[in-house]
Symmetry: D3
């Protein structure tokens, strides 16, 4: 029934490659099937002006798509001179989610910028990005601990994300592009490694959905995220 | 317990004033307590280029805050030369929600732009905006039917929105600013007049939240939205 | 003869509502007939860099129109990414006029920003804005004196403004939109409460005008401004 | 008494050099003493979209200062990415003034763009620009008549401009920079060759001014403009 | 003597991976040692407006660096709102070089956009980009021929590029970052597969260089490019 | 054979006028035939932030074309809100070339900005700009030495530039516009007064060129630059 013959609850093959590029303190290529996102974590000492002198750190994220990561070429945002509303919405989501996973006091007056650049898109880029970014964040934190810049581990828990939705009347997990573009309802869920909710964003693309459907989607998301966290842990071990 | 002595489930006084300004096809001042948003609906014939010739209409929204609608003055976005990520995120939410309420085929090749401008902010501006924008939309649709530009009523149902959250460990509805800035969890919910979900966006500002808390918030939102729809209906009658 | 049946020298009903919104140190809704402008004055300690250490203050203004304050919807300047030349011309005029009314030494190293946002436009928005902004300025100065931030009153005199013009061959005062768009000559005058000139900007939209016509317009402006100042004084008392 | 030993009514030496550059249909270097502005008129067939099919033409102007036309270097507007409010205010003034001199019906569906670029600044750049632009406009109109693109002469009258002001308590004409920066009142006047008013913009930089002072300044302006028109006519003959 | 122990004439290991991503008509990852650039060629029917109806095609290029492709993080150009001068200079160079390799008449009214995005930077990104872009271009042309969109092969010859320079007094080929940043002279050379020159850009970073040094660098470049073309041909066969 | 009847090696008449405008520390009008560029050098104490405290100076350049310096009017870059890629490429070239001529240690913590504004264009504007800018630079350096701001002369050597190219199969020097637009190969060369190379940028506009053609062009450039340096020296003496 699904174009890929997956069962409703089945995610795509998920792989996480650490140290994908050389310079960043954390550099992860995350793949959810044909969706491939490069997540780099850049650690710098110091914080933005609005946080100076408060003894706490900052984590933020930026998101971009390579112009031909998509089926037809998109305009390059740098050439157009501004980031789209979609881009801003996504990078705000990624940043919020990562900040929830970090104890800012333990991070001290240091900043981590996570860049999530989509190399190839096939649906679910924002949830793949959060999943990969969390691993890059861990690597950057470990780098800083190895350097003695921070003492205790600021990571409160791993976070991971998945998209779920209602497609042809059925709740499915980890939608690929052709499912996503035909879905009646689309929901992105970010959870901790213990299944608590960090962020939930559900949208009725077609018909409004009921509380029952919402609950069904949540269960699906929780199960998928448990599997995804296992992939994160395997990559980190 | 709440700064305003409201019960957890109690919304602020909500008023909807139609025909607040003279030129727009729909013009509504919506007030959720001290949050005041002017929502105007502008009806024009024709659609954006990407929809031409498809026999369907378009609904979109823009959002702004007057520089001193807030406690301390914010920079004017027109002077800075760009809209913030927050602004774009909100106006995309408003637009999506309103489009869910309209049958685009019945709208025909016509466009409605909803401008939501915050005159005074005290938390919940985006949910107030959606609530007021829906009434302005109805007025603009009725205007167009009165002019004979559209035949059947494209409105599928009324929509309304409320913010709910966990504040000092308790689930409360319709957060005002001091509650919102201290909330552990913040959730914006958009529903139809019959209580189906259009959009749900929940964020753990502090600690991650559980499924039980999510359910509790949803019930609170559903009840509040039922009341808010009654205010919409009273204003429209 | 005038669309509103006013006599040539007659202004529209002018009302000034103080404390229109809650947060600003001065907040005034000024109405010249159907033209409605919200003027807020924001008082902050400190001055822009170019004035630091000179023992004097700064007053500046920004102007905007809500997209549907006009007959047909205008593009939102924040979305277009820049303020129009008209907007900049008007806000420079408002700022210059207000600075003329303030003793910058007595203001001390403090800044007042006046935001003039047009809620509904029917001609004469810039002169209404100056008139309302002056009252908001007074409120902000009084607020600062009440707080003990400034000692002596920096206000040198009240200022007010009106548009005058030649319409169907006759000099008239306080043009509304349909008069304004058909006027042969359009002149905006800003004066002190004692009738001295702060700014005069006259433009031949159609035929060039003579010195005699200029003088006639000035007399008209002086008389109208005297009345408008009375409204300001009544609002402030 | 004046830094240049001029009498109050005396303008600086004014020269107008036509055909200063090779490519433009009209190209004029205008000098008011040490203020030097290059004014080029570019004639193109066709009109902007908002005028299409109405059988009339369009005249507009743009203004710029070379970065080191001034005493200390100004930022290049092209590098900063926007034109200042002052620039926009000035180019709007120049455009309005020139449009007043042209019969748009006789111009037909053709456009003239006047570029006024300040090579060297010593006060009065906008009035010098208007004066030179008018001559460049005449050359471009004659070029188009020579080509047979337009039949009748669309020029209604020559226009010229001068700045006048109150300096050390006395009304003076054609202020140079050090006078301008110390003037209590500054007024720019644009008139037709027969002394009718096209535009008047007077600002109290220091103290408000009286009607008597305004009249005195107007007389001064009228006399100076009469002389300046003579220079235009000599250059054109 | 070289940090990598290469001989002066020795290039880094060069690899070209085709079909690196799925959507583009040509997609190549090119590696010059640790410099890695993703080059995608997007083929679309139609040409930009300035070429319409002339029976010829268009080839253009855009260039970007991922923010953390470099040792320390660079600002994201999309977030800053503009491309740097360096970026524009490089993408203009890539576009010119590729256009020299294509017969625009045989391409017909079709457009190819080449996006060169630097995944990891270690010197020579622009020459690596040209080398990889040429292979992506060939793939896109073959794709279009396979589809029957174009008949004859528009490729005139392969092109490839290398950077050469004078480092510690000696002419060397294919500079890596630490050589590049210390080089006295830096020269980028683009040649055809038969060794004719498409573009040469040489800059004295330290001391001016002599004609003899220029010749020596050219010989070095020619030899390296011959080797690089062999890598291109092997990748394409 | 050349449109101007020049011999292949013959440059256009070249004139250099110093002190062309009044305010700049160096102000030069350079003319290569009908190409006229105003080059001003602005000397200011202090350096940009990235150089602070390093005991060395900075030289940079900006380039612009007046909108009607060209055959048909170009958009004003300040109005469009950004500099074109071509503009940025050229001003980067000018800046690099001038920095090669200055000993930054001897300049001390001072900055020189060179503005090159094209008054009239007929090919070769960037090489004319470099030639004129060098003379303006010398004047600014001498001004600073006269003021005692710098002690020793930071100028290492004069630099000058010329464009050469292959036109109708023959190597020619100092191309004017109609030659430039038809040239098969176009090369800009910047040299020191002793004939060493500062920058060489050669582009095959049509067919790729051979090493022999490159050498021929270089000889031509060297001879022309020797003559141009003589004009510089004559102007400076």
């Amino acid at each position: 029934m699904r174009p890929s013959n997956r069962t409703p609850a089945q995610t795509r093959p998920i792989t996480i490659t650490r140290s994908f590029t050389a310079h960043a303190e954390g550099s992860v290529l995350v793949e959810f099937g044909d969706t491939k996102v490069l997540c780099t974590a850049s650690f710098t000492e110091g914080v933005p002006r609005f946080l100076k002198g408060q003894g706490q750190g900052w984590v933020t994220a930026e998101y971009g798509m390579l112009p031909r990561s998509t089926h037809s070429r998109m305009d390059r945002e740098a050439a157009r001179g501004k980031q789209s509303g979609r881009t801003q919405e996504i990078q705000r989501l990624i940043g919020r989610a990562l900040r929830a996973a970090v104890d800012m006091k333990l991070l001290g007056e240091n900043t981590i910028v996570i860049d999530c650049d989509v190399i190839q898109a096939d649906g679910g880029t924002r949830t793949a990005a959060i999943t990969g970014a969390c691993v890059a964040l861990v690597d950057a934190l470990n780098w800083a601990r190895g350097k003695g810049i921070i003492k205790a581990n600021p990571l409160k828990f791993l976070i991971a994300a998945v998209s779920v939705g209602i497609y042809k009347g059925e709740a499915i997990s980890d939608l690929e592009y052709i499912e996503d573009s035909a879905a009646e309802t689309d929901m992105n869920v970010v959870m901790t490694e213990t299944g608590k909710i960090i962020e939930i964003q559900g949208t009725a693309e077609g018909e409004p959905f009921s509380h029952e459907e919402l609950l069904e989607l949540l269960v699906l998301a929780k199960n998928s995220i448990r599997e995804i966290v296992d992939v994160q842990k395997a990559a980190l071990s």
